[in-house]
């Protein structure tokens, strides 16, 4: 399974959780991976275990920082084939108590962060006439109480996926998204804390809510991202694939 040999991938939020699993999986398939995260340390920890990988510290909420990373990746590798923007935060609160800051942080990290990364890498992909963009939506795009910021951002990602697929298809670029269900990461561990539940209790409830009766792992999501980045998905574009153990 070295189907991505010679490919170069940029993964934001690659320092931990789903992003880190995506970095590992893409590297396993042969890609050189640029691991971008807020702080250098977690990015270096992930990149350090992978051949040809590099670590880049940047805030995806700042377009100049993202553009600078993309310039450095292009200088090093000469191309960018795959973009997977996984960076983002959750800031839940009932709508009556949601602060401007919580709204902005979520919309900025997920939506603006994905848009800025897409805008930065597409000139190279267009020039190559090859590109694979895999965005991260969520089953929360269907609606999620006490997280109107997050539900809005993830539904926005679905719209971004379809709009970009239409626009970039004729340029040889496919654009798809995965919509994960409940995955064991720090994001969901913090959710357990917020609700005053133990992790076991929280995870078990989530598992019971799925047809396959288990929660997901970052690797479950990464495997689907790798498919969408591969030649096997060459005719798939504009799709949001649910990776949630449930219809």
């Amino acid at each position: 399974m070295r189907g991505l040999r010679g490919r170069v991938a940029v993964v934001t939020g690659g320092g931990r959780g789903i992003g880190a699993a995506v970095c590992r999986r893409l590297a396993e398939e042969g890609a050189a991976v640029a691991v971008l995260d807020l702080d250098a340390k977690p990015a270096e920890q992930v990149a350090g275990t992978l051949p040809e990988a590099g670590a880049y510290a940047a805030d995806v909420g700042d377009p100049a920082q993202v553009e600078d990373v993309v310039r450095r990746v292009l200088a090093r590798h000469g191309r960018i084939d795959i973009l997977v923007p996984c960076a983002g935060v959750m800031r839940g609160a009932p709508v009556t108590e949601m602060t401007d800051r919580a709204w902005t942080e979520v919309l900025t990290s997920h939506l603006t962060g994905s848009f800025t990364a897409v805008r930065a890498v597409t000139p190279a992909m267009i020039a190559q006439r090859h590109g694979r963009i895999v965005l991260i939506s969520s089953i929360a795009a269907r609606g999620i109480a006490d997280h109107v910021n997050y539900g809005t951002a993830k539904a926005g990602i679905a719209g971004m996926t379809r709009s970009l697929a239409l626009e970039l298809g004729p340029r040889g670029i496919t654009v798809n998204a995965v919509a994960p269900g409940f995955i064991a990461t720090r994001m969901t561990r913090e959710g357990a804390e917020r609700r005053g539940r133990t992790w076991e209790e929280h995870a078990e409830r989530a598992a019971e809510g799925t047809a396959l009766r288990r929660i997901g792992t970052p690797e479950d999501v990464a495997a689907v991202v790798a498919f969408l980045a591969s030649a096997d998905a060459g005719y798939v574009t504009g799709q949001v694939i649910h990776v949630s153990g449930d219809p």
Binding site: R162, A165, L166, G169, P170, T174, G181, T210, A211, L212, R213, R214, G216, T217, D220, V221, A223, V224, A226, F227, A231, D232, A233, G234, Y235, V236, T237, G238, Q239, I241, H242, V243, S244, G245, D246, P247
Partner: protein
């Protein structure tokens, strides 16, 4: 290329087009394939069964053969027919035949497969729906479109019911792919496909194999559209 080594795979409609592509690709990756069609051509290394998927007796015979090999691990429901004619010219017989092959046939095979799969607490089914379960077909084929709408919902409902028993059920929804069913493409590539080309059998086979694989272990009840972006237009 050994992902499916030892797996027993039942593939319907395996005599032609997408089903044929799936059967040969699974066999090449180590699966023991039971290839089902009305009149399946002999293929080296592939176990063929002549059967009509609209007949419950035939379908039982197919799965008895799969059980003899150790039980079905995979089922791909690719048998299908289409009748293209305006609604006012669609006969009752057209409607019955199309619904029988595409929808009832998928149900009968799913039910027989599920007997063994739920008992063994493992298994994976991939149905072949179509983008005309989402958008109206550009040329009228009302029974076909309705049958594919049924196949997509069969997929979701079966996934919800069989998931707790360890069985995944998904579908692909292909766009236009030149095969015997589709006919010979005429004229220029439709301008309404963002990727700028018609699909190929390989384009559809690879996502079907993905859904059958461990990479899709946490995907169930999903109808994966494979159409070069056609439904976006």
């Amino acid at each position: 290329m050994t992902e499916f080594r030892g797996a027993v795979a039942v593939v319907t409609g395996a005599g032609s087009g997408i089903g044929h592509g799936v059967a040969t690709a699974l066999a090449a990756r180590g699966a023991r394939v039971v290839a089902v069609d009305l009149d399946p051509p002999a293929e080296p290394g592939i176990h063929t069964v002549t059967a009509d998927v609209t007949s419950a007796d035939d379908v039982r015979r197919v799965f008895a053969a799969a059980d003899d090999l150790g039980g079905p691990d995979l089922l791909v429901n690719a048998a299908g027919i289409a009748v293209a004619s305006p609604l006012l010219e669609h006969t009752e017989d057209d409607w019955d035949r199309v619904l029988a092959v595409n929808l009832k046939g998928s149900f009968l095979c799913l039910r027989e497969a599920a007997r063994t799969m739920t008992a063994r607490r493992k298994g994976c089914v991939v149905n072949v729906s179509s983008i005309v379960s989402i958008i109206a077909s550009p040329t009228p084929e009302i029974a076909y479109d309705a049958s594919k709408g049924g196949v997509s919902q069969l997929t979701r409902s079966a996934a919800a019911e069989l998931g707790p028993h360890g069985v995944r059920v998904n579908a692909v929804a292909p766009g236009p792919v030149p095969t015997a069913l589709y006919g010979t493409p005429t004229g220029a590539v439709p301008g309404n496909i963002p990727l700028g080309r018609l699909g190929t059998v390989e384009d559809i086979v690879a996502p079907i194999l993905f859904l059958c694989s461990s990479a899709a272990a946490w995907i169930t009840g999903h109808v994966l559209v494979v159409d070069g972006g056609r439904v976006l237009r």
